[in-house]
Symmetry: C2
Subunit: 146 residues, 2 copies
């Protein structure tokens, strides 16, 4: 995950700006998501959270994941084995690539997707307000190490 372009401070600021209190659980979870190399499920995030904060409750983590998703800070990964994993959202619009070998997520430029959506809008007559694009395959590293 390109954590260099995501700042935990900004996430706390976003929560604050939305009228939520800034708590230690939040900070713990934000750190977990921002620093993970892989998409995480709520359950995995809970496990991770209890390592540094053993009393963390399960429902709390599920609530926080929902909150972070609603604020657009994390995005759901629509994969093969379900759709319950999340990755941090980058400031810029981007498409997700998931490597089926190592499981890591990579972010690709979404300009081509924007063009595609505009094109589809014109040819279909539908008004497109949102999209989910997920790409799968073997990342550059895994191809070379195969």
């Amino acid at each position: 995950m390109p954590s260099k372009t995501i700042n935990p401070e900004d996430w706390l600021a976003a929560l604050d700006a939305s009228g939520f209190r800034v708590t230690t659980v939040q900070q713990t979870l934000i750190d977990i998501f921002v620093h993970s190399e892989y998409p995480l499920s709520a359950e995995q995030a809970w496990d991770a959270a209890r390592q540094s904060r053993p009393k963390t409750g399960r429902a709390t983590v599920y609530r926080m994941v929902e909150k972070l998703e609603n604020l657009g800070l994390i995005r759901r990964v629509h994969g093969y084995q379900g759709c319950s994993h999340f990755v941090p959202t980058l400031p810029e619009l981007m498409m997700l690539f998931i490597c089926l070998d190592c499981g890591r997520a990579d972010y690709l430029d979404s300009q081509p997707l924007d063009d595609l959506i505009q094109h589809s809008e014109h040819t279909s007559g539908h008004h497109i307000t949102d999209s989910r694009l997920q790409l799968f395959g073997a990342c550059a590293d895994c191809q070379h190490n195969a």
Copy 2:
């Protein structure tokens, strides 16, 4: 759903060709999926199946949905309220559009998506073997009736 382009006979033939037995449950479920206007979850398909075949078991429906998905006869819809709904797969490659008002699915030409994937492969260095694209918005009908 454009059922005119999907033939239940072909589905049964596909199951047969894969070495599976052709049963009444299968025929019931295939009819349900082919004729539904909306994406269906396994649970919804079970409800529908019991209307014409009351003793149909839940696990059977889940197994059959999995089988149909593995054979590529139905596709998972990756939507907002989860990813547990399915639509029939059209013979040609197509992208899915889901109307957020009426819930109906429409199939769009996927050539632009193929181009996008080729382009992303070249610029990223990843080998892309599969994709999931879901578009959301208001369909032509719902825009006019708003």
